[in-house]
């Protein structure tokens, strides 16, 4: 279970949000909504422990995440607005390295299967440099077919995806929640995702 209490975020000399809190339990889906510049991405980064909250605490299984990173990070998959791809490496290499860094020792076959699940197996051996924005995004998202972590934090996963890929991803997210996973997501698109319980958190300027 992930609990956020009384979070506040300051960027530069601007207070982006304060008193943000929620509880997310197994099978739960949390939409983070808000205009641009209200701190959605900052909130997600905070939940990953990349950004220190100005105020407030985040708990994973009732322990503060910053003191318990060793147990928290293996349970977390974060895909931010940066794809985390190296231009000089092929899609396959990129995905495999990302997965291994996250602690999943995947084989070439598994990696290829993940790429084909999101429909870009044919790009597997192309360097990331030549891929389009949408293809790069899909390579990054293919991680969701390799990870075993329980909590997924996704920043605009549907941006730059076509209709087919969006549907595939939405199905995958539904599966994840059906298996007791949790997802925190920001999105501009209206995509239906199945979850046992769905919450919405709206950030206001």
């Amino acid at each position: 279970m992930l609990i956020a209490q009384d979070l506040a975020c300051v960027r530069g000399d601007r207070l982006l949000f304060k008193r943000v809190g929620f509880e997310l339990s197994a099978g739960g889906l949390l939409y983070v909504l808000g205009e641009n510049g209200t701190g959605k991405s900052s909130l997600l980064r905070m939940l990953c422990g990349l950004l220190m909250p100005e105020q407030g605490e985040i708990f994973w299984q009732n322990k503060k995440i910053k003191e318990n990173a060793e147990n928290y990070l293996p349970n977390l998959t974060y895909i931010g607005h940066l794809n985390g791809l190296k231009d000089d490496l092929t899609a396959l290499e990129n995905l495999q390295i990302s997965a291994r860094l996250a602690g999943n020792d995947v084989t070439d076959k598994q990696t290829l299967a993940a790429l084909s699940a999101i429909g870009i197996a044919r790009c597997a051996n192309l360097p990331a440099r030549v891929l389009s924005q949408g293809q790069k995004r899909r390579v990054a998202l293919a991680m969701l077919w390799l990870t075993q972590s329980q909590l997924w934090i996704l920043d605009e996963p549907f941006a730059a995806l076509d209709v087919a890929a969006t549907e595939v991803l939405a199905t995958r997210l539904g599966e994840h929640m059906a298996n007791g996973g949790m997802t925190i997501i920001t999105t501009h698109q209206d995509v239906a995702i199945n979850a046992r319980n769905t919450q919405t958190l709206r950030l206001n300027a």
Binding site: V10, R11, G12, D13, M52
Partner: protein, 247 residues
């Protein structure tokens, strides 16, 4: 105790408190300077080897002491700021750096002014002067890093980390420079500090060092007030202060 610390560590409460403290430290600095100058010029005897030129040590040595002392204090504030995420500590570290750099520069210039009549050269690669020079680089690096990062929180924390790295390195650098110096120069002239230095000379240096110390505190408090005003520009308390103060 805990609550107290956090109360005074908020800029809004610390600003007036610092304002009240400044005149006291400034007055102490002035009094100590007068006493120090009196001892340095009127009481301390002429050095039989160096003549009157040795009187430069009454600014040089205290300035050199302060330059090192301020760096350590700065690193201390930086560590507090990093450890407890206390904004005020980081601001104090930032406020101390320029004063430390000024004392380092003064130690360098007065050292070279002392060296010219004694060694016959404006600059000698003696261990102490060389270390001061490197200390100046460390101060400049700290200030350059802080001023080139726009986000104040990141600037505070990056600067603090650099100060800590620097303070770990200072003894190593000092030792290595000393080692280098003894290898390359058979004998070094020991700056000012004769083996049996007259008590009055020591007293003069101590008084001047204390005066510089009080001055540094006063100036650091002044600067921390400026930093608070600039950072909290858009907060209500600064706005109220600026309009109320002018009326």
């Amino acid at each position: 105790m805990h609550i107290h610390w956090f109360k005074y560590s908020s800029p809004q409460t610390f600003y007036p408190l610092a304002g009240k403290m400044i005149p006291w430290f400034a007055a102490l600095a002035v009094l100590l300077t007068i006493a120090g100058l009196y001892v340095s010029f009127a009481i301390a005897p002429t050095d039989f080897q160096q003549g009157e030129a040795y009187r430069i040590i009454f600014v040089h040595v205290p300035a050199a002491w302060m330059s090192m002392f301020i760096y350590i204090v700065m690193a201390g504030w930086a560590a507090l700021g990093l450890g407890f995420n206390a904004r005020l500590s980081a601001m104090m570290a930032q406020a101390l750096a320029p004063t430390g750099a000024i004392f380092t520069l003064l130690a360098l210039v007065t050292g070279s002014l002392w060296g010219k009549p004694m060694w016959g050269a404006w600059w000698v690669w003696d261990a102490r002067l060389t270390s001061e020079l490197i200390l100046l680089f460390l101060y400049l690096g700290f200030m350059a890093l802080q001023s080139s990062i726009d986000d104040p929180r990141r600037a505070d924390r990056a600067g603090a980390l650099l100060a800590l790295v620097g303070v770990v390195n200072v003894p190593i650098i000092y030792f290595s420079v000393k080692w280098w110096n003894t290898l390359h120069q058979g004998s070094t002239i020991n700056m000012g500090v004769a083996p049996k230095m007259a008590m009055t000379m020591l007293l003069g240096m101590l008084l001047m060092a204390l005066a510089f110390w009080m001055y540094s505190i006063a100036v650091a408090l002044m600067r921390v007030r400026c930093i608070m005003l600039e950072r909290e520009r858009s907060t209500d308390w600064v706005k109220a202060l600026s309009t109320g103060g002018q009326a």
